[in-house]
């Protein structure tokens, strides 16, 4: 403490950087853990959310950050027997930086998860939470970390925290929905690009005027390249330029497909080689 104070005074004299460098003072963004229940029953599930709020002009990242950046990472610290499900991420927005195109969020973001309470939980009140690390960026980036924690009382019946529940429900409504299987998404691979094709009818009755794909994995597609949309009957195609960092073609193209700027779907398209997709004559012409 004395050493810290001393270094702070030194820093103050040098660069008045004391306050900025003080530990445990998240800069430009704040994180909190939102828990649906104040009390939970044995064997039940409890919805939770990690809420991140950035200052105006600052952003955090999606699970695939794009050309730079880093996603928030939660290291759960849970009582024995309690497990946390995978994080569910809302649809990101495209952010243009000097590094290229990033995927992330500005303002308030809630990452959702579910805690599974064991059939025979510890009695009394349990503490759930963990260590969250995230990166917040404007022109510059600042790594952040915070210890998030909440208490849940073990009881025979659940007791809901209404404001928390409403916040989590509205966050859940903003998650991308699974793409109907009848859309039959497929991706045809060629040297320079993937051509994503699907039937749009099962997803929307509207004509597709705009479509945008966010790849779940890094280094699959060129994040900044235009995604060329074509409609043919009830089928749409989106041409996605391959990333210069792609080392091996993926077996599946996974990500979020946003139709007409508002309908967001989780998509998983098997990747086929070009031979399986193109008529032989066309392929022959290309070779000549």
């Amino acid at each position: 403490m004395v050493r810290w104070l001393a270094s702070c005074v030194g820093l103050l004299l040098l660069a008045s950087g004391c306050v900025r460098k003080a530990p445990q003072q998240p800069a430009h963004s704040r994180a909190s853990l939102v828990v649906e229940h104040t009390a939970a029953a044995p064997g039940s599930k409890v919805n939770v959310g990690i809420q991140l709020v950035t200052d105006s002009g600052w952003h955090i990242y999606w699970q695939n950050p794009g050309d730079s950046g880093e996603p928030p990472r939660m290291q759960w610290q849970l009582p024995e027997g309690v497990t946390a499900g995978e994080l569910e991420w809302p649809t990101p927005t495209r952010l243009t930086t000097t590094a290229g195109t990033d995927f992330g969020y500005q303002g308030t973001t809630v990452l959702l998860s579910t805690l599974q309470i064991p059939v025979a939980p510890p009695s009394g009140t349990i503490r759930v939470g963990g260590e969250l690390r995230w990166l917040v960026c404007h022109d510059i980036c600042l790594p952040q970390s915070a210890h998030l924690e909440a208490a849940i009382r073990m009881a025979s019946a659940a007791s809901v925290d209404e404001p928390a529940s409403q916040l989590l429900q509205s966050a859940a409504q903003r998650l991308p929905r699974p793409l109907p299987a009848r859309c039959r998404p497929e991706a045809a691979e060629s040297r320079e690009s993937f051509r994503l094709t699907l039937a749009t009818g099962p997803a929307t009755s509207e004509p597709i005027a705009r479509a945008e794909f966010f790849p779940e994995e890094e280094a699959q597609i060129d994040n900044g390249a235009p995604q060329e949309l074509t409609n043919h009957g009830g089928t749409m195609s989106l041409t996605l330029k391959k990333s210069e960092y792609l080392q091996q073609d993926p077996k599946h193209l996974k990500g979020i497909l946003v139709l007409n700027g508002s309908d967001a779907y989780l998509l998983d398209a098997p990747v086929h080689g070009p031979a399986a997709q193109r008529p032989a004559t066309q392929e022959g012409n290309r070779q000549r």
């Binding site: 590094a99 290229g100 960026c137 980036c141 960092y245």
Partner: protein, 200 residues
């Protein structure tokens, strides 16, 4: 005639691609001035391996590799084996990471850094030529002048020093494999770090 036309068309199409740095192709030549005012061009180092390291001393990801001593260790290891190592600063004046020549020379001394030279690129010309995206962003060029690796320094894209020990260093891997006459296994990876602070 038809063939000539086809050749011309191929050349036309190929030109814009070859202008930028692409793995497997000739690394674009450049001339840049180091922090001691000496000019360096890539062409004069033909016959040697050359590493380009994009740098911003204030970026948390750069700090990870300098405050841990990892970058200095790599610089000493590889320059000791005859590799030319250029640290490149493309931060524009007023942007994070911008350094005057004197500031950079003081920093190199203070950190015990050991690059062959630090190239000052405040205009961003060299950075844009190589399309350097982040700090660090690493490029490895072989003695024939071909770009053999581009991207992240390692496979742990975090700002935490504790991640260095278990990471696969792609620069070291590319240099070791290439020096042993083997093909480079990972030739490109998404670079991680802060965006390069180019002039707006």
């Amino acid at each position: 005639m038809k063939t000539m036309f086809a050749v011309a068309l191929v050349l036309l199409l190929a030109l814009p691609v070859s202008a930028a740095a692409r793995v497997g192709q000739a690394a674009p030549n450049f001339t840049a001035t180091d922090s001691y005012g000496h000019p360096h061009s890539l062409a004069e180092y033909k016959g040697k391996f050359v590493v380009l390291e994009w740098h911003n001393h204030d970026c948390p990801y750069t700090k990870k590799h300098y405050e841990s001593g990892n970058m200095q260790k790599l610089q000493k290891l590889w320059t000791g084996k005859g590799v030319i190592w250029f640290t490149v600063i493309s931060s524009a004046p007023g942007e994070q990471g911008y350094m005057t020549a004197q500031q950079e020379n003081d920093y190199v001394k203070q950190m015990g850094a050991a690059p062959t030279a630090v190239l000052l690129d405040p205009s961003g010309e060299l950075g844009h030529l190589y399309e350097a995206k982040t700090t660090p962003d690493m490029f490895v060029i072989n003695p024939q002048g071909k770009l053999i690796y581009e991207g992240a320094i390692d496979d742990k894209p975090t700002p935490e020093q504790s991640d260095i020990a278990g990471a696969v260093n792609y620069v070291t891997a590319a240099l070791e494999e290439s020096m042993a006459g083997k093909p480079v296994l990972v030739t490109a990876s998404r670079p991680y770090g802060c965006s390069v602070k180019y002039a707006h």
